[in-house]
Symmetry: C2
Subunit: 405 residues, 2 copies
């Protein structure tokens, strides 16, 4: 059983030893109050790195370059820009992504292939390279610079998303920190989810990739704001070994705690992303138990959390179980209608598929809190999954329509 | 090549010979201005019938009974109620659906198994059988009663949806009429799509089922309002042979024109459904050409038409091609980014994957019309499909949240 994993106060990506970071306002973002839009993360020593990327058939060349640099071996840093996604700009996008990593590499004193890149923002606009060039030259790295990167990567996010955990492995204290930007939409374009994790653990490369994929599956891949996968979605992890532990190998007890720590950190950031979805006033948590299998549980949880009708009902604090069941029914998961128990914020309102009398006003009052949970017991097997989402509000529509014409 | 298919003025389901219909207010709907909620459709002679039903794992017993009665052989009529979906009410729902068909059969002078049933409305509430009983006894059948049924099946629809076509087959004039209710949500529950078609053609049973399935695939199955499949979705067709033609058989020239007429009628009703989606201010038409195959084209068209970001952009009359491409990219269809041409209301704004300069104000003005079209040429093959949807407005959110608490 893994040992204790603790969230640290004021944690961020530079909570991991040997990582520094910084950010500046290069002039790429014009719409954000928070005037930072270009960030650098640096590791004093080479890192094992892994990534999980958008599955979209149309992707930013920044993603392509990032994948190539991860494949090329150890990395030393990462450059991230907000404001422009570097997507749908033809061949220039690939050249610009390469040049941005070269500029960052020169600033950091490393090779271009050792620098990862992520972009988020408007589609169809080329990166203004002169602004990137002068911006990178202005960035100062600091031991607590993670906080600045967390702000620099924001688009329509209303607040930065960052956290760090600490745990023991191989007799050493391991630190692991992360930053993320949420599924907010950007004029005139789309949501992008970016998340970066840094750890001072030494980790075998194959384990790092496996652990990241597993963590993504139960965290970021279970978050939904509006169902729109972006051209730029990226989740990256860098492990520099500054803790001095023997590299964690797959199958070891340390691998289990490392995996669990990474999962908890990713879940934390994913929840924050859902909570800060565009126009959101409530976090929605959908927990499925007793599904026939895990795939069914994931399908059901995601479908319910992304239903426009469920999201609208949550906005109205309406314990509208019919919409939850309708979404479950169309999710593709095996369901026996007469076996379903449903709890709203802990109150059972349906048992064995039949609605049971409940104090409506009390449930409505519970739903007025910041978090609304739907817990379903399908009583068919052991499948379990949790998904996070947010409610659908007039504000979402206004953000994504009214301000452009 | 099929002969001429003409839409007739003021057409409805009783435009087909030998069909009568009527409706009454039984007291099941409390929220609609249009006070009709229970309808009957009757054929003077036995009909070949076919149906396509919701794929949801949770479905109304009205759907189950309807399927059983279609399987039992020729049908003579249909009873439809709005206001209560007869879903998620335990075993009572099946008994009530059976009793409702028995009551309708007694009123029509036929056997219960000869009567189909559809319900739409609130989930989790039992059908009030005494209201159904007294309601059915009050319904008078009339030659133009289709108009009343079209109103009686409405829930949050703002207007009835009905049409009829006429064409020649087997040397006879064939009439075919239909009524539908749209994907509107009902307090406190969900969208239901119902559509009924009646024709005076004689049609072989197997052809009728095949033709209906094909028509559904390119019409109702390509409509999206909010992605929520209901527990009660049903599409039914009844063919009574009153035209006196020799039964139309699969593979014959008459089968081709019958298929095409049915498709055109279904597409018309499906478009009306999308146009009248909850809170909608624009009909969205997404046409995909040159996809690798038909399945890819359908996937791409449906994904774009159902994207919350695209829907919000249309509401704001924003020619936001980045969102269209992002939806295309995540649709699962094969895409070569450098091959895509995109037209908005006929104006080419992207060619070979690159945005081309366009007169933004002119395109915005076009998008302010009642219909916004996105036509994409993927240049990869022969796959073609069209999907219909509607924009996402504050009104949608208000309808589905604000009025319940």
């Amino acid at each position: 059983m893994p040992g204790a994993i603790k969230f640290v106060e004021n944690g961020t990506i530079t909570s991991a030893r040997g990582f520094t970071a910084g950010a500046t306002y290069a002039g790429l973002k014009t719409y954000a109050a928070d005037k930072l839009d270009l960030g650098l993360i640096f590791s004093e020593t080479p890192c094992t790195a892994a990534g999980v990327f958008t599955t979209s058939a149309i992707r930013s060349p920044s993603v392509t370059v990032c994948q190539e640099h991860i494949a090329a071996g150890p990395v030393r840093g990462l450059v991230v820009n907000a404001g422009i996604a570097n997507a749908c700009v033809g061949e220039q996008g690939y050249k610009d992504a390469q040049e941005a990593t070269s500029l960052a590499a020169a600033r950091l004193g490393v090779r271009p292939q050792e620098v990862l890149i992520c972009s988020t923002g408007v589609i169809g606009v080329e990166l203004p390279m002169s602004l990137i060039r002068s911006g990178i030259s202005k960035i100062d790295l600091a031991a607590d610079g993670g906080h600045m990167v967390a702000r620099a990567m924001m688009t329509t996010d209303t607040r930065p998303k960052e956290a760090a955990v600490t745990f023991q492995a191989g007799g050493r204290q391991i630190n692991m920190g992360g930053v993320a930007k949420g599924a907010g939409m950007i004029h005139p374009n789309m949501a992008t989810m970016l998340a970066f994790v840094a750890t001072d653990a030494a980790v075998e490369p194959r384990l790092l990739q496996t652990a990241l994929r597993e963590a993504a599956d139960t965290s970021f891949n279970m978050v939904t704001v509006d169902g729109d996968t972006s051209t730029n979605d990226s989740l990256l992890v860098m492990a520099n070994g500054a803790a001095g532990n023997r590299p964690i190998a797959a199958g070891s007890p340390d691998a289990a705690i490392f995996q669990e720590a990474l999962r908890q950190l990713c879940v934390h950031l994913a929840r924050e992303m859902a909570r800060d979805g565009e126009g959101a006033s409530h976090l929605i948590v959908v927990e499925i138990n007793g599904a026939r299998n895990t795939a069914d549980a994931r399908r059901a949880a995601r479908t319910i959390a992304s239903s426009s009708l469920v999201k609208s009902a949550v906005y109205g604090s309406d314990p509208n179980w019919g919409r939850v069941l309708a979404a479950l029914g169309r999710s593709g998961a095996s369901v026996d209608e007469n076996q379903i128990d449903l709890f709203v914020n802990g109150v059972c309102i349906m048992e064995g598929g039949k609605p049971i009398p409940f104090h409506r006003d009390a449930v409505v009052a519970l739903m007025r809190g910041p978090e609304v949970s739907f817990r379903l017991q399908l009583n068919l097997g052991d499948g379990q999954a949790t998904a996070w989402g947010c409610d659908l509000t007039e504000q979402y529509v206004i953000i994504n329509s009214a301000y452009t014409t």
